[in-house]
Symmetry: C2
Subunit: 329 residues, 2 copies
């Protein structure tokens, strides 16, 4: 390594993470020599060949299409990938392992924000808050009063909540909904010894025992289209589904059919398959509350994210253990 | 009393409670001889003089303007008022006491639903869910993607929450928000020995120590316009206020000024002063989420309300203790 110890270390940013579109970009620029392929007219691979042959660290945003061999081949000096995201479905972690590239990720820093949004979407769907706000702001309340003109909502307390994926986010959701006197159960690959909630290995079985399904799992080969037609049927026409994980965990064509047909009662979706495309069939449905994959878009989480990315890069460049390793070098 | 034991007992309904606009009306009609002044062309007082001189029980809805001497004078046989509401600001309880009329009310049956809505409105305001739903459904997400076009939201976890009125609803709110790792404190007439949250006797002092104010108190002479300009100033321009109690607890003209000027960060209001009139100045504000005084409008709460009203009436007519007395006879 012939890196000049007096110049700031070089970091290639792929994606880029949304934090690079905020005031934090300047703070990154102050600490590192940041390579920004999105500002270059060169195609990415050519940019990497031209500018990044000695670059040892990459920051990768969740919106980056796929960091696999095709890209890694053009980053021969890479020693670490710091992902700004929790889900690593956009990074070929196995390939990084083979090449001896360490991977750091957002770990649990976003879990409270994602869990808060899951609960917020759930209350919004059950209690029809978004529709109510429009009802009031459009002047209908004032004109007609509420009598007879507003459908009754659904109570949250004491509902049976099935959590798909009881990792850090799932556990934060469970903790919150216990305080609403909900009955929690969960599905995951393995039973967790640290909790006493009823466990189901099968998503269909969990759905059959739940009024509400909340998806909190990672997207991978096992969870792709985990929520099938059969699972939705088991959830039933009084059931509600909340997704703060990844769109492709649900077979979205089936979900749209179930929502259109009133075969489930509602959905709160922060993520979609093929986002930002929104299936036109659900645009008019008041029992579907949508948000733009923004579960971590809070001032506080952006600050925490900045600090964790910088901390991981500082650790890497000073040969210290990564702060939030997903994969050790 | 010359009541015929074989005919169903007579009940005058004032208001009427919203439950009388649902399928429960028929169930009431099956059990009691319900007098419905709103279906008569007679003015109310004349209706009472004509039909209700021997009526011993009244059910009173929260929307009934005021049940005081002027009405009670025309109900000489009245022995009980069963209010469908929690707040009794629309009933002259002192006058009922003087006349030996018992008063039953909704007690705590609505507390979980009201607390759930308070938390839902709070997450909605902080995390901008209603605005986000419109952003997605109007096609802006699809057209522009989220980058740079969506303001960052505010994290809920670890915020300082001040609860005004730590009765049944306030305690349910506190229980829920503790699970979000919020720091709870409260203001009320008296310190509660049953909780260890910090207590403030003064609303301004509570606001100064809080990021979020949640109003859960009854409306009475002490709480009318409790939330003054000074309290809002103490809450500050990062502060958020949630009202699931009664509109007149806030000096609404001041609140509107503070919201317009960005001198507080947002509001979630299920109730307004002079509802259903909505101040036009707040209609366009995305940081204000409004709902039509519907905190108890769930299928489950309507069922519970029906059962409690019937239970109180049955108890009264069979000389048993009321199920949820506010004032004994």
């Amino acid at each position: 390594m012939d890196e000049d110890v007096h110049s700031p270390p070089e970091v290639i940013v792929l994606g880029p993470p949304d934090i690079f579109r905020t005031e934090y970009e300047k703070l990154f620029d102050d600490k590192f020599r940041i390579l920004k392929p999105w500002q270059s007219p060169l195609p990415l691979q050519q940019f990497l060949q031209t500018h990044a042959q000695k670059t040892r660290a990459a920051v990768c945003g969740g919106s980056f299409k796929y960091l696999g061999s095709e890209i890694l081949d053009h980053l021969p000096s890479l020693g670490v990938v710091v992902s700004s995201a929790v889900g690593l479905d956009h990074i070929d972690v196995q390939e990084c392992r083979c090449r001896g590239i360490a991977v750091a990720y957002a770990s649990t820093i976003f879990s409270p924000d994602v869990a808060d949004l899951a609960v917020g979407l759930l209350i919004d769907v059950l209690r029809r808050i978004t529709a109510a706000n429009r009802f009031v702001k459009s002047g209908i309340w004032q004109a007609k009063s509420i009598e007879g003109s507003y459908p009754l909502a659904t109570k949250l307390s004491h509902k049976r909540v099935g959590i798909v994926g009881l990792g850090s986010i799932g556990q934060e959701v469970a903790k919150r909904l216990e305080a609403f006197d909900c009955k929690i159960s969960y599905q995951s690959r393995n039973m967790k010894s640290s909790v006493s909630y009823p466990f189901y290995s099968d998503a269909r079985e969990l759905a059959a025992k739940s009024d509400i399904l909340i998806l909190c799992c990672a997207l991978n080969d096992q969870t792709y289209h985990l929520i099938t037609k059969d699972v939705l049927e088991a959830l039933g026409n009084q059931g509600v589904i909340i997704n703060v994980a990844r769109g492709a965990i649900i077979d979205q064509k089936e979900l749209v059919r179930f929502l259109q047909g009133g075969r489930i009662a509602g959905a709160g979706l922060d993520v979609l398959e093929n986002e930002p495309h929104v299936p036109p069939e659900i645009l008019e449905l008041d029992n579907v509350v949508l948000s733009p994959h923004f579960a971590v878009y809070t001032e506080e989480s952006f600050r925490d994210s900045y600090e964790l990315i910088v901390g991981n890069l500082d650790a890497f460049f000073s040969n210290q253990p990564l702060l939030s390793p997903f994969l050790m070098q």
